[in-house]
Every structure is written in C-alpha cells, then in structure tokens.
C-alpha cells in the first residue's frame, strides 16, 4: 500500500476515538482538544466559546428552544436558532433542564444589548460546532 493510499484509508474511516472526542468537544467546549493534549487550541477555542457564551448572558441574552406555543407554523422559526444554541452542548442542556435563560422579563428585553446577547449565545454555539469538527479531525488523523 502506498503512502497516499494509507493516508486516504486513515482519513476515510474515522476511529471510535474520533467520534468520542467530537462528542466531548461538543459537550464541554475546549475539553475535546484538552484530552488530546492540544493545550493551546483548547485555551483558544474553549476560551473564545466560553467568553462568547457568558458575555451573551451578561448582555441580557436568552436561549431558544422549540416550544410549539406559537400559532400555526411560526414555532418552526424557533428551530434554527435552537440548533445554533444547542451547539454549546452541556451548558445548553443544563439551562434547559433548569429552565434557565429561555424566558425573559420586559426589563431584560428593553436592554440596549438584549439583541447582542442572544446573538452572542447563538454564535457561541456555532463556533463550538467548528471547534467540535476540529477536535474530531485531529483525533481522526485528518489534521495535525
């Protein structure tokens, strides 16, 4: 088997460890890289995602979830931002189980940074999806 064939085989079939690292990276931002000994990447990626997530709440943002309470098919509009928020992993699940951060009082909605807040929370989830894919690729040997 040539070197190119060997590399192709390695990158085509991801080992179970790669899937595990991907899931861990999704659940806790930064941990997927940390477990693989990629300290700098873990600090940069995990740090950026956590700062984005915490900043979102500090700015008065809220998380999205599918409630089904909107009339007609309007509830479907809640699904895309929910998928984005879900990217943050365990923090979203904890918030969902404790029913924290989904509802917001009128005073919170009146904050000048309210829109920024939920956008930051959404971006934190989306950035963590990128970090998750990076951790998966490293564990699968597709990336150095």
């Amino acid at each position: 088997m040539s070197k190119a064939d060997s590399e192709r085989t390695t990158s085509d079939t991801a080992p179970a460890r790669a899937w595990l690292m991907g899931i861990v990276a999704w659940l806790i931002p930064g941990l997927g890289h940390l477990l693989q000994g990629r300290w700098v990447r873990a600090i940069l990626l995990g740090g950026a995602v956590w700062i984005c997530f915490i900043s979102g709440f500090l700015m008065g943002g809220h998380l999205f979830k599918y409630s089904g309470s909107e009339p007609g098919s309007s509830s479907l509009l809640q699904i895309p931002p929910m998928v984005g928020d879900l990217g943050i992993g365990l923090p979203y699940i904890v918030c969902w189980l404790r029913d924290f951060g989904f509802s917001y009082p009128t005073e919170q909605a009146a904050l000048p940074t309210f829109e920024y807040g939920w956008t930051f929370l959404l971006i934190a989830g989306l950035l963590n999806y990128l970090a998750m894919l990076d951790a998966f690729d490293i564990a699968a040997g597709r990336k150095s």
């Binding site: 940069l44 740090g47 950026a48 940074t113 950035l127 990128l130 150095s144």
Partner: protein, 56 residues
C-alpha cells in the same frame, strides 16, 4: 461606543476560532485570524454607515 465594543468583541472571538481551526502553520493561522478580524470590522462599519443613511 458600546455597540463598537460589542462588534469588536464579536470580531475578535470569531477571528480567534477561525484562525485556530484553519490553515496549517502557526504563522498562517495568525495572519488568517488577523485578516478575518479586519474583514469583520471593515464590513461591519461599512454596513453600519449604509444602514445609517437608509430611511427605514
């Protein structure tokens, strides 16, 4: 000022992640991260000025 600070924070965080996951060498990553940061800032400011002049 607050809006500019938020935009800068967003651009910096996104640039860190984009720069870290992309490219092969550290030098390329830093250059790419700085480029992404600059693009977010410039495009954000340009869009802000365009929206400022729109009457709705």
């Amino acid at each position: 000022m607050r809006h500019f600070l938020v935009m800068t924070t967003f651009a910096a965080l996104a640039a860190v992640v984009f720069g870290t996951v992309a490219k092969d060498s550290n030098r390329e990553r830093v250059v790419y991260g700085l480029k992404v940061f600059a693009e977010f800032m410039v495009i954000g400011l340009v869009l802000a000025w365009i929206l400022y002049f729109l009457p709705f």
